[in-house]
Amino acid sequence: MNKEMITSKQGVYLLTLFMIGSNLFMGLAPAAKSDVWIAALVGTLMALPIIFIYARLLSLFKGRDIFDILNLVFGNVLGKIAALAYIWYPLHLGAMVIRDLGEFLNTVAMPETPMLLPMLFLGFLSIWAVMAGVEVLGRCSKIFFPIVVIIMFITTLLVIPYLNFAHLKPVMYDGIGPVLNSAFDIFSFPLAETVLFITVFSALKTDKSIYRVYYSGLFIFAAIGVLLTLRNILVLGGDIVGGVNFPLYVEVSRINIGEFIQRIEVSVATTFVITDFIKVSVCLYVTCIGISKLFGLKSYRSIVVQTGLLMVLLAYIMYENIMDMIYFAFEIYAYYALPFQVILPVIILVIAEIRIRTGQLHTGKRY
């Protein structure tokens, strides 16, 4: 059993930073243009039942991660086959997030620097954090969360002179279709990605309900997400938000107050790096736990370095250019992630509930 512990507060911060990840900087589902903020609200509503499923799984199997749960529910052979899915998914997700940072720095901030370099450094940092354990990740998130919130708050104050409420109109000009489509995108990228926290929260030390931790994280993210998306639209307008790759960065770069406070977009880049680091570390942690449970290793730390390097190299060879990345992230990813985020957890929960109620499975103490 995992002896490392994180508190419920650290859990909430970790969850929120993970969800902010790279998504807010790439713009939450830009297809809905000026209606993205409605899509963010609808996406949060769509995520409520699936988050309930994740929390229910955690509350049924206290102190166990997704790989233990798969083993208990499906048995040894089928459980290990299903575990492969939950090893591949965080590995791929982590690589996608690393690549987001690489593309961001390569296209916007440091075009002359080879893309591999910042990706490698982010990879090393995550390897270091995961080697130190999930406790360190929890403490990191406790320090980073206020920094991210303060930067968001200050930039929000500074963009007030640039807000143009006419950008919100017309509301739902193209009907409800694009809004629902975008809501589905937001649901899968980032909200339902919290399926990985079934593994992280096995280390959660709390007397409070696990539901409360999960839902607090979701609502804090929803508040930040809706606020920032609304801000993007009010400053840039729906068409530009849908057209640029990193709308938040473009938006903040417009701030120029009294020819003195300007070029502060680097503050947004800082939050991008911070949240990316947390997200990659969580993905790496889950992948390493998965591999170590699959092969019955003594400690997941034996393979952190190699898995981290694999993640960085996968990120490097993944796409040929940024357009491929945007296409995969916004057109393909939602459908690709559906089995990992919705179908498998629902199947696991249904079988677990049936087996527990018929007395075939004993799960021990519950939350």
Binding site: H92, S302, I303, L310, L313, Y319, E320, Y336
Partner: protein
């Protein structure tokens, strides 16, 4: 580039894999070496400027086929 990759991997194996061998954690050592071999192959090919096939494009094609887009 090739020399750099080889040197870094020598260092990684010395710092990361050899201690597992010394502690006689055979299973951990085996998986570690398998992963090292995999990442070294990819890194080596990248350093030689060989286009390593990405796993994303087959996934993309599969999903497009399933969805019929």
């Amino acid at each position: 580039m090739v020399v750099l990759v080889s040197l870094s991997y020598t260092l990684i194996i010395y710092l990361d894999s050899i201690p597992l061998y010394r502690k006689k954690l055979w299973r951990d050592f085996g998986i570690n070496m398998a992963l090292t071999l995999l990442t070294f192959t990819i890194a080596f090919l990248i350093s030689l400027d060989v286009a390593v096939p990405s796993p994303v494009y087959p996934i993309q094609r599969l999903i497009i086929t399933i969805l019929g887009k």
